[in-house]
């Protein structure tokens, strides 16, 4: 391909990618699935108001990723500061808990109710765990029907934990898709080649199995070395050959595992 048309092609490709709504293509199907699962679980647990809260940024502040119920739209605009309220506690402690308003007085951490006009009387909150980390909180508020509401039971707590497992995997996929989206936005908007350090940071931010993580890091490292020049490539190849020979020479036990 002559150089001019190659440049034209890459320019057209870039424009095409920009016109497709990559943002929504990656993340919105995942949000839809989380919401569907949330609806199913709320039906099974018998609660009209349910929400999935995730970390907002790197800290322990929480934001609503999706919610169902009367005040769902209002919740999506709100944030909960680190360690505040039931959800904040569950995120930090990893302990699920159920709270019921014993005497019908005002609710605790009134900010959410104040802003939504909703009256929270009984809560069931379960941590969303992925790979040993708490990445969010699954919360159910009140029950179907009219007050006073019966407290949530230990059986319902166990049921919520099963849904939390499924939802946590999807939340992890959502986080990874979001990171990928941010990264692709960055690459598309800049003319320069992607920075290897940035790629590495991006990989670190993705929560995957540590095994997978290591392999990906190794792959990025190899690419970085390969781009440095001929002598680096040759040296890297020799080192890798040596490692492979060493590894093969071990009959029973391999001290190196990839």
């Amino acid at each position: 391909m002559p150089q001019q048309s190659e440049k034209e092609f890459s320019e057209r490709l870039r424009r095409l990618i920009e016109t497709i709504d990559i943002a929504n293509m990656l993340t919105s199907p995942i949000i839809d699935s989380i919401r569907n699962l949330l609806e199913l679980s709320a039906g099974a647990i018998g609660s009209p108001e349910a929400s999935v809260l995730v970390r907002d940024g790197d800290g322990s502040d929480l934001k609503f990723l999706t919610a169902i119920g009367e005040v769902a739209d209002q919740l999506l605009e709100m944030k909960i500061p680190a360690g505040k309220g039931i959800a904040g506690f569950v995120l930090s402690s990893g302990q699920p808990m159920a709270v019921a308003d014993a005497l019908g007085e005002q609710t605790f951490y009134p900010e959410v109710d104040k802003q939504t006009g909703y009256s929270t009387q009984t809560i069931l909150a379960t941590p969303l765990r992925y790979d040993g980390d708490v990445i969010g909180v699954l919360e159910y508020v009140n029950r179907n029907g009219s007050p006073p509401f019966e407290p949530f039971t230990p059986d319902e707590m166990d049921k919520a934990a099963v849904y939390a497992d499924a939802i946590a995997s999807l939340v992890n996929a959502y986080n990874a898709a979001k990171l990928f989206r941010q990264f692709s936005d960055k690459v598309l908007s800049s003319d320069r080649e992607p920075d290897m350090a940035e790629i590495r940071d991006w990989l670190l931010a993705i929560r995957e199995s540590s095994d997978h993580h290591e392999r990906m890091e190794l792959a990025v490292m190899l690419r970085e070395i390969a781009e440095r020049g001929e002598s680096e490539r040759r040296l890297c190849r020799e080192l890798l050959d040596t490692i492979l020979r060493f590894s093969k020479s071990k009959d029973d036990v391999s001290y190196l595992s990839f």
């Binding site: 800290g59 680190a82 904040g88 302990q95 808990m97 019921a100 949530f152 230990p154």
Partner: protein, 262 residues
């Protein structure tokens, strides 16, 4: 000499069985450290009980503890303290607030809180928190050994979820508790040989809540303070009990509870 341990249990019964002194004690002279979200000492059930209140702050990647004026921002610590106070009405509290500090990971701050309570040699430590991160396994194990050697009795809530959480799966230097639907705090159970040995009330437990009210709470977090309350009673009657002796006493009392039921 009998080989089924009956001699041991009849001796234990003389100290801990029905009608023995500890059952009428109030936890006087015992201070319990609550590593949690803080304690609201303006609640009428808790006022004047909190002798120390510190909170974690992250400074240059290190966790330091300084006197805290902050209120309990999550309600959980106040709830745990209320359960302990109901069983042992004269117990004192040290509140070690480890939630909401931000900065470092939650696990690291929680570990620092436990270390703080051990250094201060609080005799009983309520730990209704846990972590499932494998990297905390070794440091927690080390800290719990230090607690054991220092004579601090650490009581932890089991994880409510299927996977194990630390430290509740450690058995030698720790007392770990799971919830039951039992209502009477004295009727706790002991399952010798199981990972989580003790069961205590943890379903719809009515307890103190910040702002002066009460809530009905469910979770292993609330089973743990029930056992802490019982330990405070035992320590008033026998102030020099070691963690090992406390565990043996709990075992003997639970066995009697079980026999009474059968």
């Amino acid at each position: 000499m009998s080989t089924d341990g009956s001699a041991f249990f009849s001796t234990m019964s003389a100290y801990f069985g029905p009608g023995t002194d500890w059952r009428s004690s109030t936890g006087k002279g015992v201070t319990v450290a609550v590593i949690d979200s803080g304690i609201d000492d303006t609640h009428k059930d808790l006022s004047g009980r909190v002798v120390e209140s510190v909170e974690a702050r992250v400074e240059k990647n290190k966790v330091i503890f300084e006197p805290s004026e902050a209120v309990d921002s999550a309600g959980h610590g106040t709830a745990c303290a209320g359960i302990i106070a109901r069983i042992a009405p004269e117990v004192r509290f040290a509140s070690v607030k480890v939630l909401g500090a931000g900065g470092l990971g939650d696990g690291q701050i929680f570990l620092a809180g436990l270390e703080y309570a051990i250094k201060k040699q609080y005799k009983v430590i309520n730990l209704s928190l846990g972590t499932t991160k494998p990297q905390f396994f070794a440091p927690l194990h080390d800290l719990l050994d230090r607690a054991y050697q220092a004579g601090c009795i650490v009581v932890a809530a089991a994880n409510n979820l299927p996977q194990p959480s630390f430290p509740s799966v450690f058995s030698s230097s720790l007392i770990s508790v799971i919830k039951s639907a039992q209502r009477d705090p004295l009727k706790f159970g002991f399952h010798y040989g199981e990972v989580i040995e003790l069961t205590a009330p943890g379903v719809n437990v009515r307890t103190t809540w910040p702002g002066g009210g009460y809530r009905d709470l469910t979770g292993n977090s609330f089973a743990c303070p029930h056992i802490v309350g019982i330990i405070a009673l035992l320590l008033e009657a026998f102030p020099n009990m070691t963690p090992f002796q406390v565990k043996s006493a709990l075992y003997a009392i639970a066995r009697e509870n079980q026999e009474a039921e059968d």
